[in-house]
């Protein structure tokens, strides 16, 4: 038996993952369900990579929703640092404390102002310290600077945070960690090694039909099949920005609102702007789909 570290233990089997995620409205493919189950069982963070709009963030939210766990989210951006991600000392409060206790010796004050009371926990520390089940979502890690990754190594490797004045805080209960990335830059090997890797791609046609049917109730099955096929065709083209799942759903909503029963040439031409965001893409798609010129 392979020795397993402390694990989150949300799920008992892969089938349970699929079933429970589906209940919350997130339809996971077999690969996604398997990887989520593994991340849960092996107690390793999950690194989700893939194009924009395939539901990377949604996955973390869905896991939190079905397990009733608290979702702690760290949104990364250029220049996010320790004091935004990990913890910060509450300087103002420390100053007040020093002025309030004028008669104390310096030794007493010093030990006191670096106590838990003056520590402002940011997302990473919050997730580590929490007693209840937690899903830690580190969103768009590729937007953060490389230095940030170094910071994450301790958190994700051992699920602990070291505060020099306090010592090391180890997770009482391991959070289920999900990192998402759009792959705008290469993440470091060290970070990747600590995670399970999942590439989330566009769903296959069958799954996408089910997703649309779930998200846009009341739409006709034949229309869904047709529009999913058009989307698949668009994705196979070499476009600047291929339509994501979110755009498929938007399109389905638009068509439903227009009261369309089936796809027609005019309808596609008029609503192409919903799914394609660049003019050159629209032109190229019109040509490939043999839409007549406007």
């Amino acid at each position: 038996m392979v020795r397993l570290g402390p694990v989150t233990g949300f799920f008992a089997s892969v089938d349970e993952v699929s079933a429970r995620l589906a209940e919350s409205g997130y339809l996971a493919s077999n690969a996604v369900a398997t990887t989520v189950f593994l991340a849960d069982r092996l107690g390793k963070p999950l690194l989700v990579e893939g194009p924009a709009g395939v539901g990377k963030t949604e996955l973390a939210k869905a896991v939190a929703a079905v397990t009733g766990a608290r979702l702690v989210r760290l949104q990364c951006y250029e220049g996010v640092d320790e004091s935004r991600a990990l913890y910060e000392w509450n300087h103002a409060k420390q100053l007040l404390r020093i002025t309030a206790g004028r008669d104390e010796t310096w030794e007493e004050t010093r030990t006191d102002i670096f106590g838990e009371e003056f520590l402002l926990a940011r997302p990473l520390l919050t997730a580590i310290r929490g007693e209840e089940p937690t899903v830690l979502l580190i969103d768009e890690i590729d937007k953060a600077d490389v230095e940030m990754e170094g910071l994450l190594l301790e958190v994700l490797g051992d699920f602990q945070v070291t505060v020099p004045e306090l010592g090391t805080i180890t997770a009482a209960r391991r959070p289920f960690a999900v990192l998402t990335s759009n792959a705008t830059r290469e993440l470091s090997e060290a970070l990747r090694r600590r995670c399970l890797f999942l590439h989330l791609d566009f769903p296959d046609e069958h799954l996408e039909r089910r997703i649309v049917a779930t998200k846009v109730p009341g739409i006709e099955e034949a229309l869904v099949a047709a529009l999913v096929r058009v989307i698949a065709q668009l994705r196979a083209m070499d476009l600047r920005k291929v339509p994501s799942v979110a755009e498929t759903i938007d399109w389905a909503r638009t068509l439903l609102a227009l009261g369309a029963g089936n796809l027609s040439e005019t309808l596609v031409r008029d609503s192409l702007g919903v799914i394609l965001k660049h003019q050159e893409d629209v032109l190229k798609a019109s040509e490939k789909l043999e839409l007549d010129g406007t």
Binding site: N30, A183, T184
Partner: protein, 450 residues
């Protein structure tokens, strides 16, 4: 062979193809197998991928190797053990599977096809060939039939009929993939899977040699241009930010300090405006080097924002400017090569590369394109066909330009063999080996200004 041995062999095979899976990953993979069990093959695949892979670029190698080490079955498919379909019956089955578009059925038919028509040689010395199978079965000729069958199916949306053709082509391509994979598996049973994993699985696309890439790989490379350019641009932006830190701007710091009573609370840093260099690309477009040149042209074009000016010149035995064609090439990268050959004057009558003449023509006609702010990239294998290498022209370029780099798609070991004048050129300008997309990306990142 025990499971752990099989896993270790699998990881070894992955490493040979440049997937850096270490012992830590292997232990994770073993833990994943322990948790998942072996009952569901696709789950095993997903679990191993999650623990061993570090990027989607490695996926194709992983899948091909996985099929060898964790095969779907052994020997002939169960259904085909006793009966053999003749060609017509098999083509019927393939057509039905293509109409249905069901991947599992397609894989079964592919296995049957390899079993029926892929065998060559004698019982003990032969093997299994995907190429031979596809030559016999000819799946591409099923297109019309499948199309008719799909159209006959009533109750379908009229608009989407126009998509059928492309969709069937994709399904046929899937079928071919299945045939290749089935043939690899059968061959592995004859020759041992280590052998097959080493030679029959192609490496990740950024490690494919430009000179030996086939059409599909070149197409895949073209698709990789834009993500690669985006990655290089982000890397560059990060480098610039770091370079901008550190230097105090004394004048602005003093000015700022006035608002805090003369105490410099917030130091102001000196901001350097990076000079955007001009770049000139001079590409050999003859024969096999062309694929490399096209890829580099597209990459530099995608990075055009990083340069103040990009000019592209192409030559075979005569030089012409193709900047405009490459700029348009962004919309239709596949047709770039054909368009350049049709619209630009890069060949006269001779049709073999002539570095001497091409370089002379470049310095003569476009000499003013190269100035002290220009970085020149020369792309070519330096094979002069025995002609004059015209070192004087290259020396002149090196004097005029800020920097000159020569990117050679050949292995260093092959430089200056035969008619190659590589080392002669390398003595004048910096020559770099640039065999695959990964090396090219590293080189371009170094060349880009901070």
């Amino acid at each position: 062979m025990s499971l752990s041995e099989r896993l270790a062999g699998f990881v070894r095979a992955l490493r040979e193809h440049g997937i850096p899976a270490g012992p830590g990953e292997t232990v994770d993979a073993a833990a994943a197998l322990e948790v998942l069990g072996l009952a569901d093959r696709e789950r095993v695949r997903a679990g191993l991928a999650a623990s061993l892979l570090r990027g989607q670029g490695q996926r194709a190698v992983f899948d091909a190797t996985f099929d060898l080490y964790f095969p779907l079955g052994v020997g002939a498919p169960e259904r085909e053990r006793d009966t053999h379909d003749d060609l017509d019956a098999l083509r019927d089955r393939a057509a039905d599977a293509l109409v249905a578009g069901d991947d599992t059925t397609l894989a079964q038919v592919a296995a049957a096809a390899v079993n029926g028509f892929g065998r060559y040689g004698s019982e003990d010395a032969g093997g299994w060939s995907a190429h031979q199978t596809l030559e016999v079965v000819q799946p591409q000729t099923l297109l019309v039939r499948v199309l008719a069958a799909m159209r006959a199916d009533t109750g379908r949306d009229a608009f989407t009929e126009r998509l059928d053709r492309d969709e069937i082509r994709r399904r046929i391509e899937r079928f071919r993939e299945h045939v290749r994979s089935a043939a690899r598996r059968r061959a592995a049973e004859v020759r041992g899977r280590e052998y097959l994993a080493r030679f029959a699985v192609s490496s990740t696309v950024d490690q494919v040699d430009f000179l030996s890439a086939d059409r599909a790989q070149l197409a895949e490379l073209r698709r990789a241009v834009r993500p690669l350019a985006r990655k290089l641009a982000t890397r560059l932006a990060a480098r610039r930010r770091r370079a901008a830190r550190g230097q105090i701007d004394l004048r602005r710091t003093l000015r700022r300090s006035l608002s805090t009573g003369g105490v410099p609370m917030r130091p102001a840093y000196r901001r350097r405006r990076p000079a955007r260099p001009e770049i000139v690309l001079l590409c050999d477009l003859s024969g096999s080097v062309a694929g490399f040149a096209h890829f580099t042209m597209l990459l530099v074009q995608a990075l055009a924002d990083e340069f103040s000016r990009v000019r592209v010149f192409a030559f075979v035995d005569s030089t012409d400017e193709v900047t405009r064609l490459v700029a348009h090439g962004a919309a239709d990268p596949a047709g770039l090569g054909a368009r350049i050959l049709a619209e630009a004057r890069v060949t006269t009558w001779y049709g073999h590369s002539d570095y001497g003449n091409a370089l002379a023509e470049f310095t003569e006609r476009y000499g003013d394109a190269v100035g002290p702010r220009t970085s020149v990239l020369i792309l070519g294998d330096a094979r002069t066909n025995g002609g004059d290498p015209n070192l004087a022209a290259v020396r002149q370029l090196a004097d005029q330009a800020r920097r000159v780099f020569w990117l050679n798609p050949e292995r260093i070991a092959l430089w200056s063999t035969g008619d190659s004048a590589a080392h002669a050129y390398a003595a004048v300008v910096a020559m770099h080996e640039c065999r695959n997309a990964r090396q090219l990306a590293d080189l371009v990142a170094r060349i880009l200004p901070i």
